[in-house]
Symmetry: C2
Subunit: 267 residues, 2 copies
């Protein structure tokens, strides 16, 4: 259903107004996805309900097939570039935005119970940087991770920028949030996951690690890293680095570890 918008203050497109400020305030169980690549990923995921699209009129023709993937009756608002930028509050170079409903997150044990017998899970602890969370989801999708668990401090993977950096990976890999780090680790252990904590101070070398049938990889923020009491009671693994150089970026580390766990010549 195409609807022309000529007034940036039109109440129909309220959900798209001043995107950046709303990013910070939250959207009451909605999220914004931007760009054609991310939108195509979003529309392939049945667990998300797309409420509407906002398109630059110059893109309507080239995105016709994408519009065809929407549920019948979903509003597609069309505006010229000037009106669109005025609505959003900054230039939207990609010319395409969607508002979708945030899914209700399942309890951790329910999500874990839904996974196959052989499974790989990533746990994020205290990751407050959207670039890193997005980058880890991109890697998780690339290496077929079955689920991601977040602690309370890790930021929202459905934040606009995290989705963009993940190139849609945040929409692909199922995730949920645990009430505490302890609850997160406890649920993994109960579900027969071997928990591996990646840390520069880890005792084992990554390249020697053989994954179990169910493996969970825990990642902490650069700088503080994973909490000491967590490291004290899990299997810890490091990626040795040259000449005492500063540690790798956490998203890069996740890519290295996931590659090794899924494709390494573990022997």
């Amino acid at each position: 259903m195409l609807i022309a918008i000529t007034d940036p203050d039109d109440l129909q497109i309220e959900a798209y107004r001043v995107v950046r400020e709303r990013d910070l305030l939250g959207r009451q169980h909605r999220f914004i996805a931007e760009g054609e690549v991310v939108l195509r990923v979003l529309l392939q995921q049945p667990r998300f309900e797309v409420e509407s699209l906002l398109l630059s009129e110059s893109r309507v023709e080239s995105l016709g097939d994408l519009i065809g993937l929407l549920s019948p009756g979903t509003p597609v608002y069309i505006a010229n570039r000037q009106v669109m930028d005025a609505i959003v509050g900054f230039p939207i170079h990609r010319g395409i935005l969607a508002v979708a409903k945030s899914p209700v997150l399942p309890p951790v044990d329910v999500l874990l119970a839904s996974l196959p017998e052989e499974a790989l899970v990533v746990g994020m602890i205290g990751l407050a940087n959207h670039d890193n969370v997005g980058g880890i989801f991109r890697n998780a999708a690339a290496f077929g991770v079955n689920a991601v668990l977040l602690d309370q401090e890790t930021c929202d993977p459905l934040y606009r920028k995290a989705i963009r950096v993940s190139v849609g990976g945040a929409l692909v890999v199922p995730f949920t949030r645990a009430p505490s780090v302890d609850a997160l680790v406890h649920a993994l252990t109960e579900a027969s996951f071997e928990v591996i904590a990646l840390s520069p101070s880890g005792e084992e070398t990554l390249s020697k690690v053989q994954p179990s049938r169910r493996t969970a990889l825990l990642l902490g923020a650069e700088g503080p890293g994973l909490p000491q009491d967590l490291l004290a009671r899990t299997r810890t693994v490091s990626i040795p680095m040259s000449g005492g150089f500063d540690s790798l970026n956490v998203a890069t580390s996740s890519g290295i570890a996931l590659h090794h766990l899924t494709q390494g010549n573990n022997g």
Copy 2:
């Protein structure tokens, strides 16, 4: 030599004025490094000559040991936060900047001839994104890469943002620029390097690759990738990905490949 600056237009600190515009225009064989971590790396590298420092006065005391590492007589300009921000043109949260001389880049064959018998080199082709170039240098430093070769299209690793993203790695790993992609590959072959091109369409799987005593890893930009004619005449290697998902970020891919080539259980 501490010199107080109270006037943002003081000619002594001309090199620090309007940093972002200068980033784009270039600095006539000089570069800017920012932040304590990067400055400490810079001062450990004898091939760089630091011409001066600009410090926020609130940081003078805590950075006393760093100032002590400078060559005698090197000017250390001190300004309050307000003057410093006015000089630079935006808020310098880290409160510390340096101007250093760009090194004269050696010819490719000279750099390669200086490397040990066992060596690992990274070649960057068409990488115009400073975040990616910085991220690859960070990984190159972490995995002890001996040298980096750049083609003409790859951006300057000594651009301020690339240095920052590299966490100083761009100052650690020696690099130079080749006159053309052909010249780059030719010099590697002449120096007995086995050239491996990383590409989503690569014929071999990374995890099966055994590095030679001298290995060069070529990386291309996300999207276009490495030129077809280059792929046609080199050994090509891919990182298999799940469900046709979009390729990994090139900096992450470099980390995965360097980890495998230096620490993988290759057998």
